[in-house]
């Protein structure tokens, strides 16, 4: 064995070409809202029960049910908990949806803010467009409640091959619109999470579509499951939010 050790900051390994096109990491930061006693208790109880091991692959059922309830309340769209997978924040759900659904060298239609998906599109070897000129070339439409609903209603039904990724996780606007109201639900993946309410706990989800199992499979391959204690805390939080809104 030859070679003499040097400080590692002086050393460099050859990297994949895809890395060169990636944006710098955006740190999240921000204030943490105070936690309710119920959420704290839920987290502590989970630890006491020994819920500190891998959870079921899709995430715990009560959390998937709570996510399904939230989607139904927002948009009257019903998604079975069996088609929901809990992720590490909406960030992971967004990446997985783009990585699985965007075909290589295809186009991802993003009518609004493209920064949340720019990196994922690079890693999927695809390209972002803000307007659709060749509908057949669009493999994914990434849309949010902040987009102009009129445009969504006009454009989405004209994209014959596109999967619709509906990301409500960081939208400023609330709407009862959901793409599954105008295109087949089997083509729509809904993404949401608790980045505002439980920012450091890293809980999100991806829901629905006929490729729910494929999405789940990549999630499992990447991070196996979301933090188990955080999942139980999230159940309590969503249930409290649901009660308050009734």
């Amino acid at each position: 064995v030859t070679g003499s050790p040097q400080p590692l900051d002086k050393l460099a390994l050859p990297l994949a070409n895809r890395v060169a096109g990636l944006p710098d990491a955006q740190e999240i930061g921000g204030n943490v809202p105070p936690l309710s006693e119920g959420v704290i208790e839920a987290a502590f109880d989970a630890m006491k029960r020994g819920e500190t091991h891998y959870t079921d692959r899709p995430g715990i059922l009560p959390l998937r049910q709570a996510a399904a309830d939230r989607i139904k309340k927002q948009s009257s769209v019903e998604i079975s908990p069996k088609d929901i997978t809990i992720t590490c924040d909406a960030t992971e759900a967004r990446f997985i949806a783009i990585k699985i659904l965007a075909e290589r060298d295809s186009v991802v239609f993003v009518p609004g803010d493209w920064t949340p998906v720019m990196g994922a599109v690079v890693l999927a070897d695809s390209t972002i467009v803000a307007e659709v000129s060749v509908p057949d070339a669009v493999s994914v439409a990434y849309v949010t409640p902040d987009d102009d609903e009129t445009i969504l209603r006009d454009v989405l039904p004209t994209l014959p091959k596109a999967w619709i990724v509906w990301d409500v996780s960081s939208a400023k606007n609330q709407t009862s619109f959901h793409p599954a109201q105008i295109v087949p639900a089997s083509r729509v993946v809904t993404i949401d999470g608790l980045a505002s309410e439980l920012p450091g706990w890293r809980i999100g989800w991806m829901a629905g579509s006929e490729v729910a199992e494929r999405l789940r499979s990549l999630k499992q391959n990447m991070t196996i499951c979301a933090t188990s204690v955080a999942q139980w805390a999230a159940v309590e939080l969503l249930n409290e939010m649901h009660k308050e809104s009734r």
């Binding site: 050790p5 460099a12 990636l22 500190t52 692959r57 920012p199 499979s217 933090t227 955080a230």
Partner: protein
């Protein structure tokens, strides 16, 4: 072995025979529907996360210090991990900037492959192996190139077999020690020879050391990155899940030259963002608190003795389990394919054991039996297993 002749195996499971990941999950889900099944499948320690680790997480929740950390990880945790690499692994040059905290060791693997592999790049991997490596490589459009390891050699890695499969497209060698599923370790002399090959062919070494704390019978773990000339070409992967019974907390870590870590941070910001804050705080407590791992090792040593004695009693041979917490058991004397046998053990004996072909298609004559239940349940599992093995062997 037979060719999956048992008609009882559902077609949905049979169809997964060559996809290790899906096969394992299909069996886990099937076991969830069978009451009183003893789980010897998943590599999830049954031992509770130690109290002082949970208390650290509880304190941070009460104090409201749960805001997201930097994507690379909590600075304090990165410092402790770097110190651990220097202290325990001889990786003298690792500083916090050479470390990224990941959402479990498995994510570390995914990030590594995304960061270093161009389409068509080859990664040399041992057979058998945890098949998630294959997925991580394929998601980066890389190519898995296998080399065999043998029962007679306790599934140690043979350097000459690695060198035999090197091509101009080879980018990296994957070293897994101790090994999942075989529980073999790569001995120091072999690691030094692999290091020499990596330098001569200018290759990266990815060293998965997640089971490093669990070795038996005086066998020692060595980190290939500690050998001269290897710091600049080694990416070391580890995590808290196995060592501290923290699988549900999802914290792993990777050490590498800074340009790799910087690139991994960019990829991680896109793929999942930082690991959960409470989990990272808990991980600091794991590294700075009492050495619970030594206690775990004593427990696993006792269980290993129980399981291997029972397997011997059943007439089954197993590879010398020098590390990790599995008995890689040769079941070919039963005359039944391991998938079929695993199915029968689950249905008739209510024991979940993963078949060898969940770790590569060549291993239909093996079972991976984990030690991850208390001794009473392990004893009961062995009692349930014996008549099934004997019945099918005599048939």
């Amino acid at each position: 072995v037979t060719n999956l002749a048992n008609a009882k195996i559902p077609e949905s499971v049979r169809a997964l025979a060559t996809d290790g990941n899906k096969l394992r999950f299909a069996l886990v889900e099937m076991a969830a529907g069978i009451k009183d099944t003893i789980l010897l499948g998943r590599g999830d320690p049954d031992l509770p996360t130690p109290q002082h680790i949970m208390e650290a997480a509880q304190r941070t929740i009460i104090d409201g210090k749960t805001s997201p950390t930097p994507v690379a990880g909590l600075p304090e945790l990165r410092e402790h991990i770097a110190a651990k690499f220097r202290r325990d692994n001889g990786l003298d040059f690792i500083q916090p900037e050479n470390v990224i905290v990941t959402t479990g060791g498995q994510e570390g693997l995914f990030l590594i492959m995304q960061t270093i592999l161009n389409p068509g790049d080859e990664v040399i991997c041992p057979d058998p192996r945890y098949t998630v490596y294959d997925d991580a490589i394929q998601h980066a459009r890389g190519v898995v190139v296998e080399f065999p390891t043998d029962h007679d050699d306790a599934f140690n890695m043979r350097p000459e077999r690695i060198e035999a499969v090197i091509t101009p497209r080879t980018k990296a060698i994957l070293v897994v020690t101790p090994s999942n599923p075989t529980s073999g370790i790569v001995t120091e002399d072999r690691l030094r020879a692999i290091a020499e090959i990596a330098q001569r062919h200018n290759l990266i070494v990815i060293s998965d050391e997640i089971y490093e704390r669990f070795t038996y019978d005086g066998w020692k773990h060595f980190s290939i990155g500690s050998f001269p000339g290897m710091a600049e070409r080694t990416i070391t992967l580890n995590g808290f899940s196995k060592a501290y019974a923290m699988t549900g907390w999802r914290v792993g870590y990777v050490a590498a030259p800074k340009n790799v870590i910087d690139a991994m941070i960019k990829v991680k910001a896109i793929t999942s963002g930082p690991a959960a804050t409470i989990s990272q705080v808990a991980s600091v407590a794991a590294l700075t608190g009492p050495d619970v791992v030594a206690d775990f090792l004593r427990i696993y040593t006792e269980r290993r003795a129980l399981v291997t004695a029972a397997l011997t009693d059943m007439g089954l041979s197993y590879s010398d389990s020098r590390g990790a917490f599995f008995a890689w058991t040769n079941s070919s004397s039963t005359g039944i394919h391991a998938m079929e046998l695993a199915y029968l053990l689950l249905q008739e004996g209510k024991i979940l054991i993963f078949p060898g072909n969940a770790f590569g298609p060549n291993w239909g004559g093996y079972l991976r039996v984990s030690f991850l239940q208390d001794t009473e349940l392990l004893r009961e599992a062995m009692v349930r297993m014996r008549p099934i093995i004997e019945r099918y062997r005599s048939a």
